[in-house]
Symmetry: C2
């Protein structure tokens, strides 16, 4: 198990007209193909995040495969973070990223305000995506994105400043609603409002200095050292659906990495 890239290697069941190709495998493993097949059914919404899949025995019989083989397929999807298994209860589709995941890079230890930070949308506009943004988001040149500037605070103290780009046909409903009514957490809200599940993200950390405008918003001095987090977030199907840059006080930065 945990064979390096069985899923990436094996051909998915294809999303074309003949979606239910029941041919086991072209040239690769059965469980890898099975995993890709189940993955497709999940991303297409057949099983909504939070719900349980059919039991192992049922799925195995349905696909005409031995129990052990099916379990290997499920293990692959668990390793990918797509499923979660609970002894005696069932196999569940994982809900997407929810928490205030940016806080894992910082320790704002002021007086107990350790929960979810408050969010205020400072600016919302529709803009033409830059060349780079269009590439990352898989848009054609000149496509438009929803651009947000957001300030996040703990116990009333500003701590993080964010600039967020969202591809526009997909997140159109966010262009209308009153931003003052938005939730503090973006991902659960877009899951509810836009039906988009944020499943995975890549955070690129670097260091810099705040420009005067950023500094003013964060109530720090211009030129104050900051940590910049450039995030690319992906949905269940692996498409990049968000670009975000976050700035925070470098002196509050704190992160632990495991080596090997």
């Amino acid at each position: 198990m945990n064979s390096p890239s069985a899923l990436d290697r094996d051909a998915p069941p294809s999303a074309g007209p003949n979606a239910s190709s029941d041919q086991p495998a072209p040239g690769q493993s059965r469980y890898g193909w099975l995993a890709a097949s189940l993955r497709a059914r999940i991303t297409q919404g057949e099983w909504v995040p939070g719900t349980a899949l059919p039991a192992e025995t049922a799925l195995a019989k349905e696909h005409g495969v031995a129990l052990g083989t099916l379990r290997q397929a499920l293990a692959l999807l668990v390793a990918q973070g797509l499923l979660e298994r609970q002894h005696g209860r069932g196999t569940f589709v994982r809900v997407g990223l929810g928490g205030a995941s940016m806080l894992r890079f910082f320790r704002f230890s002021q007086g107990g305000g350790q929960g979810t930070p408050q969010s205020i949308i400072l600016q919302r506009s529709v803009q033409i995506a830059s060349q780079e943004a269009a590439d990352d988001l898989g848009l054609h040149a000149g496509a438009s994105v929803l651009q947000l500037q957001r300030l996040r605070s703990l116990s009333g103290k500003p701590c993080l400043l964010e600039s967020i780009a969202l591809p526009l046909p997909l997140f159109a409903s966010l262009a209308q609603s009153e931003t003052a009514d938005w939730d503090d957490l973006l991902y659960p809200m877009v899951q509810r409002v836009c039906g988009v599940t944020i499943h995975r993200a890549e955070d690129r950390l670097s260091f810099g200095l705040l420009n005067p405008e950023q500094a003013a918003l964060l109530q720090l001095d211009a030129g104050h050292p900051c940590v910049q987090v450039d995030r690319r977030a992906f949905d269940l199907s692996g498409r990049c659906v968000e670009l975000r840059t976050t700035w925070g006080d470098a002196f509050a930065f704190q992160y632990t990495a495991q080596v090997r």
Copy 2:
């Protein structure tokens, strides 16, 4: 498979007089106990890093267990980074951390010098471990450690400054040899010289400013922003055997983290 903590939960075969207790399991899984048993044989040096274990069939027969059960045990050890399997070749004990792993946090892109950084030992001394260091290293209060200060350079340019503490009975041989003859990489050297395999490490990142002495050594200005990496490194048996603090130019900092 990949059950959360099967190994941690199950009792190891014990290193006492009756080391070869062949009782399958007290209250838990067979493969978990088996994995702990194999782990002990590895950490005790029965199979040296780089060598191959006996074949699956042989190990299975030796432990009176089915093939699938043995494979689950091996999968656990692979997940822990202790073993490495290669189709058609065998199952190998992984060699410890080798590379210049600190460089994964920095991009020193000056003129092509991208290989292993040169290392110069600036200072070596035997000192009484601080309270905190003794705790981390599992020493009694007042025990002595080998303290090193090391400067690492790429193409002649200083880039990283390090302060390293090594528990002393274990690394005594490093207190004698001529530091000018040391290798550029510490971990492969201590594996060769002291027989200690560095298997895993935890790096805690934070931000700060260089004091005048540090700045001079790194050829930067005093007060220059820096990233500080506090590392705790562990051997095969999980003991902490190194404490290290590394400082580098914050503007060269660059790291990518995966979220979920």
